[in-house]
Symmetry: C2
Subunit: 68 residues, 2 copies
């Protein structure tokens, strides 16, 4: 089990949280996604180490940006 | 044909615009809904005069507030 935390920019409401949760949750191996809207922190629990590029692509697909 | 403009509070992003558009658009008689996110102005075109209570209920259902 692996857990990583990322900062996502641009989320403004619960719909944004849902979009990011859904896209990041669709990455192979991801088991749980927790998003804190106020801080932009996204904690991802997965059964394998994730590629940051995969997470970045999912966040971009949702319409937001991973903080570099 | 009737057109009315309302001010909706709390919309922060395009998802919010979509939610309000969908809910207000589901009111019987509504033909078009135009939302300006920056100003919160929602312009509703309908084939009959709408009850403000109906519009308020739809906006509330979407999760936002009609300015009084």
């Amino acid at each position: 089990m692996s857990q990583s935390t990322y900062t996502v920019q641009g989320m403004t409401c619960g719909h944004c949280v849902s979009s990011v949760t859904e896209e990041v949750g669709s990455i192979d191996g991801v088991q749980q996604v927790d998003v804190d809207l106020a801080s932009g922190l996204v904690t991802v629990t997965s059964d394998r180490d994730l590629s940051e590029d995969d997470v970045r692509a999912a966040v971009t697909e949702a319409g937001y940006q991973l903080a570099s």
